[in-house]
């Protein structure tokens, strides 16, 4: 239930400002429907990781049913999508799922999330636009779709 402490972005303007205002940290935004189970689980995970990564990443939530401005632009059609930004630039990450733009599957482990954030930050601070996740999620993602 700790996920209620994650900062929620109420409007598109707030989302823009969140992405723009941060100049040394990764901005992680969870777009999704808060009532969805996957989304709730991911929120808990994000909340647990947030104090650990606070030096290099800041985590926000955004309800796609309230803020619809980005749904088309970012193709936010999944119940839960996590996107990464660094200095007003969209960061891509190769999870092995075929979609490098976003993380749209629930993670199980806090450490995995922290590792992904670290890798993205490292790449971003070196000026890269695309990094490779420390673990390949193609298998887990397929397994999820089969269910």
């Amino acid at each position: 239930m700790g996920s209620v402490f994650l900062q929620n972005l109420r409007t598109g303007w707030h989302v823009d400002q969140a992405i723009l205002s941060e100049d040394d940290r990764l901005v992680v935004i969870r777009f999704g429907e808060p009532s969805n189970r996957e989304c709730m689980l991911m929120d808990e995970l994000l909340y647990k990781a947030s104090p650990l990564v606070q030096q290099f990443a800041v985590i926000y939530t955004c309800d796609t049913s309230v803020v619809k401005d980005f749904n088309e632009m970012y193709e936010l059609y999944d119940p839960m999508t996590v996107m990464f930004f660094y200095r007003n630039k969209h960061m891509m990450c190769d999870f092995g799922t075929g979609n490098n733009n976003k993380l749209n599957f629930p993670l199980q482990d806090k450490q995995e999330l922290v590792d992904i954030l670290e890798v993205i930050y490292r790449g971003a601070s070196k000026g890269k636009g695309l990094v490779t996740a420390p673990k390949d999620y193609s298998y887990t993602n397929n397994a999820r779709r089969d269910q």
Partner: protein, 437 residues
């Protein structure tokens, strides 16, 4: 202790002997009587309930002793007191058995008159009080309530209400059966005996409360006079000392599941919030048993009890402190730092040891327009030799030499006859050895 006292003591001892004889006689009788009292089909065959209770005479004797000790008014325990204590301790169990048997007897016998009464009134004392007041005329219950307000003041209003309702129903359905005069008398007699037993118990309790500090100083300093006396009055010191600590909290609990035992009334537990009561009770119970054991050994000061009380209070205070606010240490920024290994004596040496040898270098070079020599190794692979052997190789000695420590090098030097600072004049080691012989 005066002469009269000792005389009296002797006298009472004789009586006890007599008593025990009587008890032995009646013991066999009592055994089947207790069973019979509850199972006997025809109550008319019983003449009096007093015959079934040999304990009564003993109790009377105890009462007299109590009176005598009250007259003495001393602060320390006299022999009389100790004798009273030991006797009552032995009798506590018997008293319980008698009281309970009589309760069930009265309930059984009175059930035809008012079947619901035992369900509504759980406390046996209240039960016999009601029976004593209304006797066998159940319709008089209402008159008692209307006319004499004080007669049922020991009952709460809701219980009186449920009693009235059950009574109305009973009168309407005409289920009440009033027994004959003889049984009526028996029931009333049983009620009277029970009140007697209860009175003596109460008196014994007040006696213990007065003398408790002398009887159990440690227990008193741990839980206070009231609780200590209650505990000792229910179990007796020796039984309390052998009771497992987990059973202490339930001492003094009535059948009513909401009620609490005696221990819940002691200072430490009263002043603590409900969240910590369970822990506090566990701690105190274990110490109660220990204190009882110390007190039983006859120690006259309550130091241990005081010490344990302070200990428990300190421990509880610590437990009640709010949890420390532990901050989660954030991870460091994952910035890639260049390797700090750049130079230095050790690192240079290591690099020297690991660097490509001259032979390998030569092997990697090729002369232009010339066929290189090859050799076949153990696995049948053809290995080119490149410029190996065609150019002079300098510094072959230092490359890939065996890594030797300083100490080993020195000893090796000694054996190989090299002149070191210390052995300038000695010549070779071998020569030295030969000289010795």
């Amino acid at each position: 202790m005066s002469l009269a006292d000792s005389l009296l003591d002797g006298f009472s001892d004789d009586e006890i002997e007599l008593e025990s004889e009587i008890q032995n006689d009646s013991h066999e009788m009592k055994k089947f009587n207790i069973q019979d009292l509850l199972t006997i089909p025809n109550l008319n065959s019983i003449s009096s309930i007093h015959d079934y209770c040999p304990i009564l005479s003993k109790l009377e004797e105890l009462e007299q002793k109590l009176k005598m000790s009250e007259l003495e008014k001393k602060n320390s325990i006299s022999n009389l007191d100790t004798s009273i204590l030991t006797e009552t301790n032995h009798m506590i169990n018997d008293i319980y058995i008698y009281f309970n048997t009589l309760t069930s007897f009265v309930k059984l016998a009175y059930a035809p008159v008012w079947p619901d009464l035992s369900n509504i009134i759980k406390n046996p004392l209240f039960y016999i009080k009601i029976v004593n007041i209304i006797k066998f005329d159940i319709k008089s219950f209402k008159d008692h309530i209307i006319n004499v307000n004080d007669s049922f003041n020991f009952l709460t209003k809701d219980i009186i209400l449920s009693l009235t309702m059950s009574l109305n129903f009973l009168i309407k359905s005409n289920h009440s059966v009033i027994p004959n005069n003889h049984i009526q008398q028996l029931i009333l007699e049983a009620c009277e005996i029970m009140t007697n037993i209860n009175d003596i118990q109460l008196r014994f309790r007040t006696f213990i409360t007065k003398r408790i500090e002398a009887i159990a100083p440690n227990l008193t300093s741990l839980v206070g006079t009231t609780v200590a006396s209650q505990l000792i009055a229910t179990t007796g010191l020796s039984t309390l000392a052998s009771t497992p600590a987990c059973n202490i909290p339930s001492l003094g609990k009535s059948t009513n599941s909401i009620s609490f035992g005696y221990v819940y009334n002691c200072d430490i537990i009263k002043n603590i919030s409900n969240d910590f009561k369970k822990q506090a009770i566990r701690q105190i119970s274990s110490k109660i048993v220990l204190c009882a054991r110390i007190d039983q050994s006859g120690i006259q000061n309550g130091n241990m009890g005081l010490k344990w009380k302070e200990e428990i209070q300190k421990r509880l205070e610590k437990q009640m402190l709010p949890p420390e606010n532990v901050q989660i240490k954030p991870l460091a920024k994952p910035v890639d730092m260049k390797s700090k290994k750049r130079g230095g004596r050790k690192f240079k040496k290591m690099r020297e040891r690991m660097k490509m040898s001259e032979v390998e270098k030569a092997q990697n070079k090729m002369a232009f327009g010339e066929e290189e020599l090859t050799k076949t190794d153990a696995f049948g692979e053809e290995i080119g030799l490149g410029m190996l052997g065609k150019t002079s190789i300098r510094n072959i000695e230092n490359v890939r030499s065996v890594h030797v420590t300083k100490g080993t090098k020195n000893t090796l030097d000694k054996f190989s006859g090299k002149i070191t600072k210390n052995s300038e004049n000695r010549g070779s080691k071998l020569a030295e050895l030969l000289e010795r012989k």
